[in-house]
Symmetry: C3
Subunit: 339 residues, 3 copies
Amino acid sequence: MAVSLGELAGRFGLELEGDPATTVRRVGTLAHAEPDAISFFANPAYRGQLANTRAAAVILKPEHSKDCPADALLAKDPYLAYANIAAMLHPPLAYSPGVDASSSVATSATLAEGVHVAANATVGANCQIGERCYIGAGSVLGENVVIGDDTRLLANCTIMHDVVIGKRCIIHPGAVVGADGFGNAQGPAGWVKVPQLGSVRIGDDVEIGANTTIDRGAIEDTVIEDGVRLDNLIQIAHNVRIGAHTAIASQTGISGSTTIGKRCMLAGQSGLVGHITICDDVVIGGATMVTKNISEPGFYTASFPAERDRDWKRRVARFRRLEDLANRVAQLEKGTQKK
Amino acid sequence: MAVSLGELAGRFGLELEGDPATTVRRVGTLAHAEPDAISFFANPAYRGQLANTRAAAVILKPEHSKDCPADALLAKDPYLAYANIAAMLHPPLAYSPGVDASSSVATSATLAEGVHVAANATVGANCQIGERCYIGAGSVLGENVVIGDDTRLLANCTIMHDVVIGKRCIIHPGAVVGADGFGNAQGPAGWVKVPQLGSVRIGDDVEIGANTTIDRGAIEDTVIEDGVRLDNLIQIAHNVRIGAHTAIASQTGISGSTTIGKRCMLAGQSGLVGHITICDDVVIGGATMVTKNISEPGFYTASFPAERDRDWKRRVARFRRLEDLANRVAQLEKGTQKK
Amino acid sequence: MAVSLGELAGRFGLELEGDPATTVRRVGTLAHAEPDAISFFANPAYRGQLANTRAAAVILKPEHSKDCPADALLAKDPYLAYANIAAMLHPPLAYSPGVDASSSVATSATLAEGVHVAANATVGANCQIGERCYIGAGSVLGENVVIGDDTRLLANCTIMHDVVIGKRCIIHPGAVVGADGFGNAQGPAGWVKVPQLGSVRIGDDVEIGANTTIDRGAIEDTVIEDGVRLDNLIQIAHNVRIGAHTAIASQTGISGSTTIGKRCMLAGQSGLVGHITICDDVVIGGATMVTKNISEPGFYTASFPAERDRDWKRRVARFRRLEDLANRVAQLEKGTQKK
């Protein structure tokens, strides 16, 4: 698809410094863009690449246009403008409606218009699949799953019985939604399974990463509100609630019954203990464990950055003698006070 | 299913304070139970919800019955009693025996009576599947897998060749049992794969969470003993042994050849290095790395809770100047001793 | 398969102390080897097991041959010699070429000679599968996937559209290669998805662990060079590059656009932030977070080992009073200087 800069400027409300008739066909990085590509400049670290780019046009902030060797589309948020332009130039792979002969769809399932069920997918009894949904190859939907319009399950996804998923969601390969929560009571002869009787409710415009797991609730539902973004390999335990537009990076774990507010951002490998509440607009640093309620927006963290092993080991040894050091300081203070 | 409180009291050996003819049909939370539901009270944090519950009955400790506005079933361990009652009121989804036409079952595989093989599942050569097992949609069993009676593989599970699984196990979607352990020898031209020739043996009554991975042994087997409970996204490396009734929370990793005792509890995101031994009845805290043998039961931990980022950064800076601080204290002591 | 020690010595260039006519049929551990097995001794911790082994032969370093009760194959690197001998005695499961009737292979896909497509696998349009490849049961290949000769996708793997995989790779069950990277721009009404338009290129002789995820690039490709070894449940974000022969242990996460050099080793549960560069020959300790470029080879770490919870809690409390301690030391110094 070829689009003129004039058309892009008009459609996305951007100011153009350059020739409106210039056309671009695809996106590219500053460093490697071909002359028919449009690029963007958002991270000052790449200033050198901007100076040397061969891109036909670059999306950037007005204050950087003087450094741009190509036509410039000026945007307050160049990354956002880039996202919209990239989506226009590169629409997602198209699929034609239809049910692959190798899939297995229960006769009691309802498929709305335009649904594609790919090879070797399984759709259980009484499922209701919305218009234009894509049920990818190898995916499994248990009984009574409800999926809103335009949602895509890309491949080998598992959605267990009674889960409800909103519209325009994207569920990446290997994600598991609605497996049993981890509920065990201690009996005289070992653990007794606590039945997990709730389900999972996922809002609209939610994206769930590859091999991420979202457990069903114990009695009531686990809830993922609208617009949430979950990266890969995340664990969401039973009865968690994640507020709208919160984004969580890879390998983070949220323990049972914890509530996260809206517009939060959790970096990778962070972990939240169970039964706590995080308010709106909280940012959690990487590899950080949160053990208590957070009731004020802000940035919270608790992890040490890597050092040379010999330096680190020395620090750990010092840390372990901290009590001794404190005692010695107290002793010195006593001596001072005596005088 | 409607059950009277009298029947529940009799069947589970609980004392009833209230009307034995009251019937309940389902479970509910204290906060949201309908008048036909039974709830439980185990966590003192929910005392306010107990006072206002609309549940027909509540399972609780004898000492809390005076605070209960509904009929009360008295239990030493209300959560355990709840688990049993919930299982009675809400039995797992039933399935009828049979082999789905879209599945692929090797002619040399043996399916005992009552087995269900769901859509698009694959059962390899010489597998032996016990009575009433459920092989969920999209699951793959390699050659020579042996599964005991009443075990359920829920969906998209992968069980590699020669793995042995006991009775009454539940394997959640996406779990992988019996993939190769991570064995590599350094050769002159790069890594040389060390063949992983052992298998995995899983006892009875084991539950394995979604997308959890349990690797096969290098020479001998990886072993999961009876009654073990594994949450989601856990890594169990080759030749690990996990003792009976140990429970491990999500995203924990156990490195190769480590042995964990019986009745241990590992919190989420903990990690054990390889070739160590943890005795029975050990509890490991969240996000804690264990680097040495543990030979005494007890609670072990090593992780910092999140703080305001600016406070944390200040602490890290102090930590990095700890050596300097210790030197200054030594200097002060020297000055004192001189006098 | 029975092989004589003489043949093993000759083929792998090892010195034999013992009878060249002795035959072995399989490998075994020092502790449990049967008399027809060959074992190896590499870890001094197992010296006691060496003394008592019933193995027919043991592979070990020349300096340990005097402690060996059996025939000895002398190797500079016994583990490497063991890897080669084990592979010879125990070749991987054989499969016959062919396409299972329950699989779904696009008519536009090209399968070279000797390919096996197992049950319920899906091969998308225009895929090119090299000679003798194994596409395991339940695996899904999107459109335009290219796979080199002798690569094996073991089961339930997902390879998304346009991914390129080299020769002789092994991809373990549940791995996902080529899911969208986690790219989101903040729009006025919530997150806007940034299209992920790059792909993933994987070199030759790469091994990818169970349920590991490797995301496709945002504009250019994510790259895994030759000979890389990835354990289970690892996250590789978009536009990461991993240098040849680097090995990464389980549950490690590499954030977007980070570059790792050649021959690095990352222990389990480590994490690298985005947009950094790690040079060749770096070793990262377990559960260590790397936040900055590393430009010198060596061992880097930052994690605390578990302690008794009461000891640890005391340490954390001391740590939190470190600023107070430093102030008191400064006060003492002031007093000293006054005099």
